[in-house]
Symmetry: C2
């Protein structure tokens, strides 16, 4: 089982944006710089988060990204699904219906038990991700990370955030 590398970047960016003041935004280039990522690589993931309404993009030279809703209402599951897609990890190709023992469709009305068991485990995974809010991640960082890291992150946000005149939504 594999998650794309973009998941780590997406969660870190969302957590960083949870730290900007009020309606302020942060440019994609600053987010890329914060994590040593290529801006063009990161843009793809920021776009996915924006399409999923986790982030909001403010256009223009003074624009950038901000959370589209409070960090308390964004979960790790929201971010993972935005970046990885909503399809189940287990892909059932219905191979039970192939080969010489294949019967007519009426024999396969009941879902394959293997698929059902795999999807049940995936529901447990998603439920665990849905339990963690972005605000929990930020609170854990503020409370538990090295104070130098917290200070450096706050200073970075302070330096790169751009105040906006009014919220677009």
């Amino acid at each position: 089982m594999k998650l794309g590398e973009g998941v780590e970047a997406a969660i870190h960016c969302a957590a960083t944006l949870a730290g900007v003041d009020g309606d302020s935004t942060m440019p994609g280039a600053a987010l890329a710089e914060a994590f040593g990522l290529s801006p063009s690589y990161l843009l793809k993931h920021l776009n996915m988060l924006t399409a999923a309404r986790i982030l909001e993009s403010v256009p223009g030279p003074a624009g950038g990204y901000r959370l589209a809703k409070p960090a308390e209402r964004i979960t790790l599951l929201d971010i993972v699904l935005a970046v990885e897609g909503r399809e189940p990890a287990f892909r059932c190709g219905e191979i039970r219906q192939r080969g010489p023992t294949k019967l007519d469709a009426s024999a396969y009305v009941r879902p394959c038990g293997i698929n059902a068991a795999m999807l049940k485990a995936e529901r447990a995974y998603r439920a665990a991700l849905a339990e963690v809010r972005l605000s929990d991640i930020v609170a854990d960082f503020m409370k538990g990370a090295d104070p130098r890291s917290v200070a450096a992150s706050c200073a970075f946000a302070e330096r790169h955030q751009r105040q906006q005149k009014s919220r677009s939504t």
Copy 2:
């Protein structure tokens, strides 16, 4: 999040081998035929299951595969890890340590909270997979699948299994 297509094939093959009599084996070509798969494609996955000691391979023209232990002692987690590898799905690249806010290593002794939360969810996934034994999958099929499917699968196993003189282990 994605699982390779081989997972479906691996679980179906293991479930099929749970249905052969005693120490009998089934050739890889028959398993491939059963699910309409290319034998060379399937061989890779059968080898992985053998390397993980889920299957046992009996060499020679009259050989084939059989379970290396009772189906009660094989879980879906065993099979998924054998095919997909044991690495976590979430790959933490420690991007928190990149960029201009990077500090010396002593600031990152505590694991990243994002990585910790992602791994916790993955433990829930693996625990759910570990709860399902191959014998449960087989019992569910025998009890719940269409009787024509059950009869066809049993007849296929009967036709393709090869009795062995003695168990190698």
